[in-house]
Symmetry: C2
Subunit: 478 residues, 2 copies
Amino acid sequence: MPAPSQNVERWGVYEVSLPGPQSGNPFVGVRLSASFQYRHRSVEVDGFYDGAGVYRIRFMPDEIGEWTYVTRSNRPELDGKTGQFACTPASARNHGPVRVQRISHFGYEDGAPYFPVGTTCYAWIHQGEALEEQTLATLRSSPFNKLRMCVFPKDYIYNKNEPPYYPFERNAAGESDFTRFNPSFFQHLEKRVRDLETLGIEADLILFHPYDRWGYSKMTAGADDRYLRYVVARLAAYRNVWWSMANEFDFMKEKTMADWDRFFRIVEESDPYHHLRSIHNGFILYDHSKPWVTHVSMQSSDLEKAREWVANYKKPVIFDECKYEGNIPRRWGSISAPELVRRFWVGTVSGAYVGHGETYLDANDVLWWSKGGVLHGESPQRIAFLRRILDEGPAEGLNNLSTYYLGAGREGRYYLFYFDFNQPAEYTFELAPGAQYRAEIVDPWEMTITPVEGTFEGKFTMKLPGKPHLAVRFRKIG
Amino acid sequence: MPAPSQNVERWGVYEVSLPGPQSGNPFVGVRLSASFQYRHRSVEVDGFYDGAGVYRIRFMPDEIGEWTYVTRSNRPELDGKTGQFACTPASARNHGPVRVQRISHFGYEDGAPYFPVGTTCYAWIHQGEALEEQTLATLRSSPFNKLRMCVFPKDYIYNKNEPPYYPFERNAAGESDFTRFNPSFFQHLEKRVRDLETLGIEADLILFHPYDRWGYSKMTAGADDRYLRYVVARLAAYRNVWWSMANEFDFMKEKTMADWDRFFRIVEESDPYHHLRSIHNGFILYDHSKPWVTHVSMQSSDLEKAREWVANYKKPVIFDECKYEGNIPRRWGSISAPELVRRFWVGTVSGAYVGHGETYLDANDVLWWSKGGVLHGESPQRIAFLRRILDEGPAEGLNNLSTYYLGAGREGRYYLFYFDFNQPAEYTFELAPGAQYRAEIVDPWEMTITPVEGTFEGKFTMKLPGKPHLAVRFRKIG
């Protein structure tokens, strides 16, 4: 056994780097993997070619202690390499990957709570250093802990610029060789995923999308599958990665439902860590009951519908798009901040999670939803307020409990009612008996929490302010 | 031929009154009708027993000129009576009954426009003189030109009082004799229908409802049918009557769908004037495509759905309940005024009509939606503003024209776009070419209309205020 080459913390990235052949097309011709061993358990991990004769295998250990590995390859110079390292306890801000927990909720692998509060910057990593750093600075002081982002460059309204990096090698005419990846592109992608990890933000990676003028949406099945395996081999070891098969998958007319099924299977089979997997709809819903779908990633403005989806799919529901705060001349990109905040609350008390996006017209076409940059809207601070409410609530998340006026929580401990555009001047609440509760009036727009005098128990009628868009929070005393 | 007994204006009520038998049960045993003749056309009209030995036949002539009649009865003293009268032109405020026109719209029979702007006072005629007069005074200065009201007394939250009149004779124990109508009840009902007519308000009469403790919702089929024929014989001659088979028909568990079909047929067969016929749902929709349904009377909060219903049914759609402005602890009775105004606008630009109701808690349980009284809310003045917009628009009514941002109007002449919770800072409109338009920004809440400088034609991009809940109106110049 060689000496430990390095240590790595739990859920950190251990990387094996090996020199290897440059001849031919290493992306196609060279197979490399490693078996990582902890006591009597072994984990098979695919390696990848990173260009310039360098091959890498990345591994995310999930057990503290001594690990060893041995490589396997169809090329002798990469085969049978061994090593060992120590996995040390995770550092304070490292809670591991996010997992589905308690049917319709999430949590970090170490047990710390995680309530997704996402935003969307589809093409932020294709904008060049200055804007990308600005986006990161904005995210640092934002409430968001998940970011939807595309792997491939994007061609769409307000996003017509060429990207600094292309995912495949291109000839002088700009034609891609879909058999040869561009390592610089992926190194940059990885850098941005690590940047997000540093900020505690999950990278909800969109593997395919229809907004394309370079041909990435129209590759052959062979190229699609090779691309998926390559991305997973490169990125799966980063603990903050989620896999979104596509954005608006049904707008990619070249792909069939069988293609999407196959993509899910490839990702599931290739990812040793089982990061979260989803697919985002345009008009047509993918069958989220399929076993490889870990959670529902919905485009819908019918936030209350979450109750039905949670009940039927028995999976978490995230409204990754319920339209965006903004003022562009599109119905999906011009809802008001109060309307988006309303949707966040309706989704939350329906037992789901809701994502943000922002589309304000900009002289330089820098719209947050596509390129990142800075935020202009009035919803983010209210979303931060809602995140505070979630953080102060039960660690298990909020289940929808009442469908009359929408209420969520955990019976006997915590209730959050949101009255939406309703303004009852009083209401008869019925909380689980045997406990006493304190009540507060929550104003999601004014971001105020006003205690109600007295304590409450069982069934009781409480006076309410008779104003719309308020919430009431009940927390068990003691 | 006897001399003309009286004159009556077109669409007025000509009444023949005859003494007749009081023995037995005249409501069951006596049959009476008359044939009214104008030149070579005759109209068969049922009479009814009005108590105290008086029989009446009411007729609404629709042709100016000389009419004659002859009665028919199974009782000799009522049979073969003849008379004649002159039908004179309608007075200025009398436009005749409301009809369906241009597929999904309405209009008066004389061609005057009619855009239904309804409200709801289900049990207002069962509250006694003082409150009923107050309701009429409120209606007089309101924007409403249609009123949904129940024939039968109502038993429901906030409406537990006994009515001044009962529709059937009752014994000392309070049990109804469903074979004997109470003429005082119906005389009072008629008085209130005439009061509404004087105010230019259509009486949308709800013939059955489930909110009942007296047994009116559980009568035998024979009693149901006799009741329908009696109501139609008494009231059909009033030009402002609409027939609504029921409110929340599906909550009347004793009735089957076949019963509702039969009720429609009885009303259609008995009413010589073919007043508008509809039925109002709870959770289950009646099949509005049935030929006896003249228009869709919907309970729904999905106002945009009107586009689909208009297209599928090819009938007018009225959202008679889309929830009420108020503050009672019910989801259907506590929406804010801005939300109700928003729904009026969404329904309008979807090509439908929307109804109002108000449910503010009151120390004496006088809630407008049930008992009438006075209005407390902020929506009526905004509904008046919308009615003004409709009155200033095309007489044919507004068809939905655009589903991107909702827009309605008449191609080439008039467009009304409502941006709802969207706030685009600019929008590219595409109006029918070949005409020039003036544009105005309409604020439905502030009730302002602000002209936009310049004239507009064809396809053009216009700056907008970038605030939610605004509308834009385009009117052709010249």
